[in-house]
């Protein structure tokens, strides 16, 4: 076997320029398979890291996945707001330990603006129940002095180069139209959060009264003509919030979670929905899983195509190698050894491709991980291959071996038919 292996290696090396192209195409499909697996795993890890220690998320009645997406991940919009009085009612429930109201809808240069209370910094947890930590500065202060103060996430500060004391202007909605800027009421950055690897990093936090102040001279999504109030005038108004987008709820005991959820659903004054973040996340995976399987099927197809290329290249070269096969037969190689030789060659080429692809995948994660995190907020981890990765690589290898049995079989037939006198 070692004799055959060294022959196969040297024969393949002799045709390295053609085979290198096949190696490259197998490497690319391996990169695709491993890359998608890496992103899939890390996306899930990122999502499940985003919120922890919150027992229920309460919002207007909508789909659980949608509520989770807009309240935690700032993806999509709320269909409706809920009244602050509803949250106060929930907070009075004997099983509820704390509530954190969330008010979304504005943005700052592509980053979401979140209106909340000081309780957010106290109760919000991510990852393994880690609390938010201020890298610099402090949380926004109390009314009225702290009205126009903002605390920015780590990515916001890094990408926009913000330091403490920076003056920023928030935009109404997604910030697409300049006239929707809240330019008349600028904010000051008073705190910068330490990185968390969650959507918090890409959020600008302000107080609920500040949200009210921004919109006091607005109605139905537009500025009221002739009723402009300056920042100081707005601060003097009654800024008690009437409605928010959602609320995070912490319970005294997790055991009560289903009964509280039922009571939220049965709340009389307005239709509410309470979700368990973990359960909603599982539902999200069910949805995302479809797309993932589609991607995996596509990359499996790409792998199949590159293995077909391997077969084509080896088969095409076989006719010119009938002389080589006859020499091997003359020195005592049997047709079965000829088959093994060709199969080994295919396996070697596939193995080289898989190794190169795996190296490229880890290289890409190492080189582009920072960029991907900045651009898409996904933290890609540089990990040794896990069982899923090993399985993918083994599958490509097995596919390569199986595919090379085809040229192997053809060589077997040729060497039987040709014997010692190849008809070339």
């Amino acid at each position: 076997m070692t004799a055959l292996l060294s022959l196969a290696t040297r024969s393949a090396w002799n045709r390295r320029f053609v085979l290198a192209l096949v190696v490259l195409s197998i490497a690319l499909s391996t990169l695709l398979l491993l890359g998608i697996e890496r992103i899939r795993q890390d996306l899930r890890a990122n999502f499940s890291q985003a919120v922890s220690g919150t027992d229920l998320i309460v919002g207007a009645r909508t789909g659980p996945v949608q509520l989770l997406l807009y309240s935690v991940f700032r993806i999509g919009n709320a269909t409706n707001n809920i009244r602050v009085s509803s949250i106060e009612a929930i907070a009075r429930h004997r099983a509820v330990a704390w509530t954190v109201p969330l008010s979304l809808g504005d943005s700052h240069r592509g980053f979401a603006v979140l209106g909340t209370t000081g309780a957010y910094f106290q109760h919000f947890r991510y990852g393994q129940k880690q609390a938010l930590v201020l890298a610099q500065g402090r949380a926004f202060g109390e009314m009225p002095a702290g009205l126009y103060e903002a605390v920015v996430g780590a990515d916001v500060a890094r990408r926009l180069g913000y330091t403490l004391g920076q003056r920023i202007v928030l935009a109404h909605g997604d910030g697409a139209m300049r006239e929707n800027d809240h330019a008349d009421k600028p904010f000051t950055v008073v705190g910068i959060l330490a990185p968390t690897g969650t959507p918090v990093d890409r959020t600008v936090h302000i107080s609920l009264p500040a949200i009210e102040a921004l919109h006091i001279d607005w109605a139905a999504g537009t500025r009221l003509p002739g009723q402009t109030l300056s920042a100081e005038q707005a601060a003097a108004q009654d800024l008690t919030p009437r409605s928010v987008t959602a609320a995070l709820v912490g319970l005294k005991s997790r055991a009560a979670v289903f009964s509280v959820q039922r009571e939220v659903a049965a709340y009389r004054d307005e239709p509410l929905l309470g979700i368990l973040p973990g359960v909603a996340l599982d539902e999200l995976w069910d949805v995302v899983g479809l797309g993932e399987r589609g991607l995996q099927a596509m990359s499996a197809l790409v792998a199949a195509v590159s293995l077909a290329g391997l077969v084509a290249v080896i088969l095409a070269g076989l006719n010119e190698r009938r002389r080589e096969l006859a020499i091997l037969r003359a020195v005592g190689a049997g047709p079965r050894q000829v088959l093994a030789l060709l199969a080994l060659e295919g396996l070697l080429v596939t193995a080289a491709g898989v190794l190169l692809g795996a190296a490229a995948c880890w290289g890409a994660v190492a080189l582009l991980g920072g960029w991907v995190q900045g651009q898409f907020g996904i933290v890609l981890r540089l990990l040794p291959p896990g069982s899923a990765e090993w399985q993918l690589m083994a599958a490509v290898l097995a596919g390569g071996l199986l595919a090379s049995l085809l040229p192997g079989w053809r060589a077997y037939r040729l060497s039987l038919a040709d014997g010692l006198s190849p008809r070339t």
Binding site: I327, R329, A330, V331, G332, A333, G334, Q337, L420, S421
Partner: protein, 228 residues
């Protein structure tokens, strides 16, 4: 009486789909150390005869034996092992694997036959190459760097490594010019004599015949396709 190294008796062979026999030979045998010149133009069933003698194809009737062992009596793998252990083969040209070094080409049969590797012992390839007169600086070179004449000499060394009982040479000089041909013939015959190998040498070039113990005319020997 000594047992024949190679013997063909009552041999009939027809290529699949052919209308008539390609080969019909009553008797051809080589004693150990025998040298036989088999003369024949191309297209007279030469390649077929050699394939039958080497046990690569089996006859439709009759028997082909190497060292008293009938090829037909062995399974496919056993035939490959028997051939690897006891037969050396030289082609017309392109004998060498281009991607191996000269030395590795000579050692090639040893990779496929442990029995032959044992018989050859260490240093056999170097000793044989020494006899070819090929400068040792070339031994580590890729085989396709050599000239045609050098390649054929290396092929002779490979056929003889491990002293196989029979060497078959299929027009090995057809690509060589006069002086190279002389040198090659001398090397081949000397080496066979040294190793005690019987040599079955096929060529259409009658001028080479005088060096051999026996001359056999293939068209005379083969009575297939002859008008009855």
């Amino acid at each position: 009486m000594t047992a024949a190294a190679l013997s063909l008796r009552g041999l009939r062979y027809r290529w699949p789909g052919a209308a008539a026999d390609t080969l019909a030979i009553d008797e051809l045998s080589l004693l150990p150390g025998d040298t036989v010149f088999l003369r024949g133009p191309s297209g007279c069933g030469k390649s077929t005869l050699l394939s039958l003698a080497a046990g690569v194809v089996l006859p439709d009737a009759g028997e082909a034996q190497l060292l008293g062992q009938s090829w037909a009596g062995l399974g496919a793998s056993a035939r490959d092992r028997h051939r690897a252990a006891h037969l050396g083969y030289i082609f017309q040209q392109f004998n060498l694997l281009p991607y191996l070094s000269v030395l590795d080409n000579v050692r090639l049969p040893l990779r496929f036959s442990p029995a032959r590797a044992r018989r050859a012992g260490p240093g056999a390839a170097e000793a044989l190459l020494e006899r070819t007169g090929l400068p040792s600086t070339l031994w580590g070179q890729r085989a396709d760097r050599l000239s045609v004449g050098q390649q054929q000499r290396v092929a002779a060394a490979r056929a003889l490594i491990g002293a196989p009982e029979v060497v078959i040479a299929d027009e090995p000089t057809s690509a060589l010019d006069e002086p190279l041909r002389e040198a090659f013939m001398a090397l081949l015959l000397d080496s066979c004599a040294q190793a005690g190998s019987a040599l079955l040498f096929v060529s259409h070039d009658a001028r080479l015949a005088e060096r051999f113990a026996r001359v056999v005319d293939l068209p005379t020997l083969n009575h297939a396709g002859r008008p009855a």
